[in-house]
């Protein structure tokens, strides 16, 4: 005799349904994976002093999204960007990243955060396993440190160590040619400023061993007045100055140093000068400041790069920034990776991204590569040149040598215990 089953669902079915429900609730990007559109989440900085960079990141992403959607979308699915303001706060960036995936149903993340926020978003990506491309953090350790490595995260950004090697080599050449042995530094007093300056000095001394640092100044981030740092540097009488100041801080510094005629008394190397955010704002841009390229439409000097810069300007009535090209490149990578596997499945796309080389207007040789072993961008246009007060602002940029950059980067990784 069989026991008649009770109407409704039994305990086992209830548990199974609850389990499935809990899984669905916890991993909505899986449940919604086959929706007609694909949502991509993007935490970035849309308010505060860095808002211009976050806005330019959003603009660049949207330019590429329009192109991808016009061409049929990602594996036939139209992209819908969900972009939120983190206000530059790491905890807010992490919260938003989690919410974008768990509540909004985003299947991928473009992390448009500065370094501090990127590390927070990286931990969210590690936790929930969503595909994530960092597009703004230049802190080398984000991908160089193997402890940070996760299979679903990539960094599509220039790296501090690459800039330092290229900059150190360029500056050493000028130092030898002009006999610049006494150097001073003036960089913002936080992780980026200190790390970048230390790396630059390391490689400057590597290529020009008789260089000596005779003065260091570390103004606070967003400090309004630099008078005391300007006069301190003038007292030290260096032959050259290196600075990692950026954005409004750099333009303030230039305005304040200009009236002390500082730029006639020493060679100045400002890694972040050649970005339109600074170039177009400084009214009396001194001739002859040495700078690393950030984004300028004339380097690389290709029709593709110029066309991209012009299209951006035509659409948004201002030039793109360093963050713009990085975000645009991330979308280009995503598009190519999806094409390669004909799927928007995060795991498959991550596999396709690993080691992928794509054609790109911002590549040193017209291509860029997502390096397989540490999921970071290489091969992008990198170089240094000197400023003039009008367009094209940095007419002759000397390209960095990627062979040399990669060789020295490998040594640097070893010295840090990363390999």
């Amino acid at each position: 005799m069989t026991t008649p089953s009770k109407p409704g669902i039994n305990r086992r079915t209830t548990l199974a349904l609850m389990g499935a429900g809990a899984f669905t609730a916890a991993t909505p990007w899986v449940a919604r994976a086959q929706a007609k559109t694909i949502k991509i989440g993007m935490p970035t900085i849309l308010s505060g002093r860095v808002a211009q960079l976050g806005t330019s990141s959003r603009n660049a992403v949207m330019i590429e999204v329009e192109k991808i959607n016009a061409a049929g979308g990602l594996a036939g699915r139209q992209i819908e960007m969900v972009i939120r303001d983190s206000k530059g706060q790491p905890q807010e960036a992490a919260r938003i990243a989690r919410e974008l995936v768990n509540t909004d149903g985003c299947e991928m993340l473009i992390d448009g955060e500065a370094s501090s926020g990127s590390f927070a978003v990286h931990e969210v990506a590690r936790d929930i396993g969503v595909l994530c491309i960092h597009t703004c953090s230049e802190a080398s350790s984000l991908t160089a440190d193997p402890k940070q490595h996760i299979p679903n995260a990539f960094r599509c950004v220039r790296q501090g160590i690459h800039d330092s090697i290229a900059g150190g080599n360029y500056a050493a050449g000028i130092a030898k040619a002009k006999g610049l042995k006494k150097w001073a530094t003036c960089s913002p007093d936080y992780a980026y400023g200190r790390d970048t300056t230390a790396e630059f000095v390391t490689y400057l001394k590597h290529f020009a061993p008789d260089v000596e640092i005779i003065s260091e100044t570390w103004p606070k981030l967003f400090q309004p007045d630099y008078t005391e740092t300007v006069t301190k540097i003038l007292q030290a009488k260096p032959q050259a100055l290196y600075s990692a100041l950026w954005g409004g801080d750099l333009t303030s510094y230039i305005d304040q140093a200009n009236i002390y005629a500082m730029f006639t008394q020493m060679e100045v190397f400002a890694v972040n000068m050649a970005d339109y955010t600074a170039l177009t704002v400084v009214k009396n841009l001194p001739k002859g400041i040495h700078s690393g390229n950030r984004y300028i439409k004339t380097f690389p000097a290709t029709a593709e790069n110029a066309a991209w810069g012009d299209a951006y300007k035509a659409k948004y009535k201002e030039y793109p920034t360093n963050w713009s090209w990085q975000n645009a490149t991330a979308m280009m990578f995503l598009s190519e990776a999806v094409k390669k596997v004909n799927s928007t499945d995060g795991k498959k796309v991550a596999e396709a991204l690993t080691g992928l080389t794509i054609k790109c207007p911002f590549g040193a040789d017209g291509t860029v590569t997502m390096r397989a072993d540490d999921h970071t961008l290489i091969g992008y246009a990198i170089g240094w040149g000197t400023t003039i007060p009008t367009e094209p602002y940095v007419p002759d940029v000397q390209s960095g040598d990627w062979k040399q950059i990669l060789a020295l980067e490998a040594e640097w990784k070893k010295s840090k215990g990363y390999t």
Partner: protein, 300 residues
């Protein structure tokens, strides 16, 4: 710590001139902001936490004035007068409602307007930073005095700040309006009973204080980049100045600002990693030795 650099500086006239001028520049801009703050507190008994926002408005008004007219004199006027008008409206519509209320309420109102003013600037001028650039008249090589470097623009800045200090000092001490203001600060009820409209006095003082912050912003505009929220750091240093000088004292604001300027200027040579710390340490020492500040009066 680099005491050799500091001692070496005192042995060189060039260094002393450059660093002293640098201290005066830092101090004089701070003075213009702090004197408005201290004036408002002295008369209205309001700690205006939104004062930094008026410095910001001054810079942006000056930028627009300069772009429209090409004259830095008119730009300064735009900065000072425009900010004074906003200050007057702010005082009449909002601040006048929290006179005599506890400091927390005043703080909340002021802080709310810091956010509102920052967003207003963002809406009108945009979120990105702006730069005015040095006016043509001051795009000249710096002067060399006893080997020290002195930029002509900074001489103007110091002169304007000193003129403001003198006018304020003489105006408050000698003019009829000054006497009424001082009387209103001491006993507003008595002033009111004499048939003097204290609301006008309060509005004028608040507008004057804000106008001075606006003038500071306008003077700083050619050398400092402008961003929404730029008034915050200036506000903190202005509070330090008013605490050192004594809340409500104009002379105290002047001396406090000059001391802070010189500490920053010479401190950056001898204590490059502790320049901000020196400023706070000095404030603590003053507070311990003289809790009302150098020129403050005991409330009791």
């Amino acid at each position: 710590m680099d005491l050799d650099a500091l001692i070496g500086c005192f042995a060189s006239s060039a260094c002393v001139v450059t660093q002293t001028t640098s201290g005066l520049i830092i101090g004089m801009l701070l003075f213009l902001v702090a004197v408005g703050l201290t004036l408002i507190f002295g008369v209205l008994k309001i700690v205006n936490f939104s004062h930094g926002a008026f410095y910001m408005f001054g810079a942006y008004f000056a930028l627009t004035g300069y772009q429209l007219t090409g004259s830095f004199t008119l730009a300064m006027l735009c900065g000072a007068v425009g900010t004074a008008v906003i200050g007057l409206i702010f005082e009449r519509v909002f601040i006048s409602r929290v006179y005599g209320r506890d400091v927390l309420m005043q703080l909340l109102v002021c802080y709310a307007f810091v956010l509102i003013f920052d967003d207003t600037v963002k809406l009108i001028w945009g979120p990105e930073f702006k730069s005015m650039g040095m006016p043509d008249a001051f795009r000249v090589p710096p002067w060399f005095i006893a080997g020290g470097i002195v930029p002509p623009f900074y001489v103007l800045l110091i002169a304007v700040a000193l003129a403001v200090a003198a006018l304020l000092g003489i105006g408050l001490a000698r003019s009829r309006l000054g006497k009424v203001i001082r009387a209103a600060a001491q006993n507003p009820d008595m002033v009111s009973s004499l048939g003097i409209n204290t609301a006008v006095i309060y509005g004028s003082v608040f507008a004057l204080g804000c106008g001075l912050a606006g003038l500071a912003g306008a003077l700083a505009a050619p050398v400092r980049s402008m961003t929404p929220g730029m008034g915050f750091s200036v506000l903190i240093e202005s509070f330090i100045v008013t605490v050192i000088g004594g809340m409500g004292s104009i002379l105290g604001a002047l001396i406090g600002a000059l001391l802070i300027g010189l500490i920053r200027s010479f401190g950056s040579l001898g204590f490059p990693l502790f320049t901000d710390g020196l400023m706070y340490l000095f404030m603590v020492i003053i507070l311990v030795a003289r809790p009302t500040g150098l020129f403050g009066k005991d409330v009791a």
